[in-house]
Amino acid sequence: MALALQPTYNVTITLQDRDWNKSSMSLHLPVGAALATVETFITGTLIPAIQGITNAVVLSWSVTRHAIDNAVVADAEEASDVERKGVFSFRAADGSAYVVSVPSLINDVVIDRTNLIDIGDALVVAFLDAMTAGITGALPSTYLASDLVRIDHARKMHRGSRRG
């Protein structure tokens, strides 16, 4: 991987008017500032400055940072197809289900004559361990912050993708 961390945070602010129509504005902040500093600037300075210009109201905002490699497409295998997905359904600690789809699943991890993923395959085990055990101090979770505890089932499926 030759992903390059982008040097800016992308801040997107969503506003709403009287008719509940929404629109967003965006700007970029330097990464040199810590995220906590960015948060303080947005809430204490930027949003008040925006409200001084607009008569809509600020509903929400987000901070995004990217690591990108735009030259990578040429390196993809001829047989790659992001619409062929490995769909993994995990069970979380709160009992909820969480699904993550791995694009362009390799056929080597699919059991022949089925659409089932071999969850005993070493590469699949490594992925499952990453999702349920994470790394020291950081653990994947559901959207509502419940830790993933086990895999329930894993299948190869075909699903649409954003066109390149």
Partner: protein, 154 residues
């Protein structure tokens, strides 16, 4: 202000034909950014091992909501927008668009109603904000610390 319970980690893969698809994971919001990146690269590495697409982007998103946003003005309309123009030290002019401009216009002259009153409270507040944080462009150039003009986008 309230933040989401988790940080969203988007892992985008591309295939040979340039199609792209994203797998999304989440982790605790309180984690330091460096730890989130470490987890993101770790999971991405394990996903890459079972994919013959190629990882093209990792995206981290922290989301926040305003607890009590208040009531928009009766005349508010996000379809109307103002373009704020700032000048940086290199003389470059950069713009930021803000939806639903309020009562911030010049009231006399040829541009009454469509040009930002630079002496008004709104413009002065924006100008002050430019001095607090170094806003950047998408390609990491300085947006500028001088509010040059603002105008209604038609």
């Amino acid at each position: 202000m309230a933040n989401a319970r988790t940080v969203a980690i988007g892992l985008s893969f591309a295939d040979r034909e340039g199609n792209r698809a994203k797998a999304t994971c989440y982790c605790a919001f309180a984690l330091p950014e460096d730890d989130v990146w470490s987890l993101a690269f770790f999971v991405a590495d394990k996903m890459q091992a079972i994919s013959n697409g190629v990882l093209s982007k990792i995206e981290l998103v922290w989301r926040y909501t305003i607890d009590d946003p208040g009531t928009p003005a009766e005349e508010s309309d996000v379809a109307r927008k103002i373009l704020m123009l700032m000048t940086n030290e290199d003389g470059e002019v950069n713009g930021i668009v803000i939806p639903s401009p309020g009562d911030i216009w010049e009231t006399t002259g040829s541009y009454a109603g469509i040009r930002l009153d630079l002496a008004g409270a709104g413009a002065l507040g924006w100008a002050d904000m430019l001095l607090v944080m170094d806003l950047r462009t998408e390609d990491n150039r300085a947006v500028g610390t001088v509010l040059t003009a603002g105008g209604l986008m038609l």
